[in-house]
Amino acid sequence: MKNHVRDLRGEQGWSQADLGERLDVSRQTVNAIETGKYDPSLPLAFKIARLFGQPIETIFEPD
């Protein structure tokens, strides 16, 4: 899936490690999500959406 996590993270001025800390995942996992190499689970996707205050569908899009 495509996602806008990197852009949203950049808007907050957070590093990948900062975002990982807020989501309780590793920096490497954040990187894998942003580069599209890993699609997060539903609970993690909802956590991301809640963190950025956006609907999940605006953050994650099918290819």
Binding site: D18, V25, S26, T29, S41, L44
Partner: protein, 146 residues
């Protein structure tokens, strides 16, 4: 102000996880390393009933089980991608080493390969070794060459 989650490029979360894991794993491994010679010394030098020899021979399994507990607790602390990588690597290691011992079994069955005592003790270490290599290979799939 952003949370200080990195120190010299090291993820503090990872460091804390490693500390907890090693705090449980290393004492167990130390117990294992001590239990093996103790077990052997007892079996070789102390006369004992046959029924007692089995638990004495299996003495190293007690700390080994504690080490296993440490590994399982560590797996549960990992995030979803880290856990996926580890579980996939364990699966690959199980299949590869399983197939390898299967092949060795065929050779031993027709006596093309010797079957020295203690050979089975190397199966688990072989799995651990292949597991480590598999983690490195599988992890690369999720990296972007940072």
């Amino acid at each position: 102000m952003t949370a200080p989650t990195e120190t010299a490029g090291v993820d503090l979360r990872r460091r804390a996880q490693a500390r907890r894991y090693l705090g449980e794993f290393l004492p167990a491994m130390l117990g294992y390393v001590l239990a093996v010679p103790v077990s052997l010394l007892l079996l070789l030098n102390v006369p004992m009933a046959s029924a007692l020899k089995v638990p004495v021979a299996l003495l190293p399994m007690l700390p080994a089980l504690l080490a296993l507990r440490a590994v399982l607790r560590h797996l549960r602390r990992l995030d979803e991608l880290e856990r996926r990588v580890q579980v996939e690597a364990i699966g690959v290691a199980s299949l590869l080493v399983g197939m390898g011992t299967f092949a060795l079994g065929f050779l031993q069955n027709v006596q093309l390969l010797p079957a020295p005592p203690g050979l089975m003790l190397w199966v688990f270490p072989a799995m651990i070794a292949v597991w480590g290599v598999a983690v490195a290979v599988i992890t690369r799939r999720y990296r972007d060459g940072r």
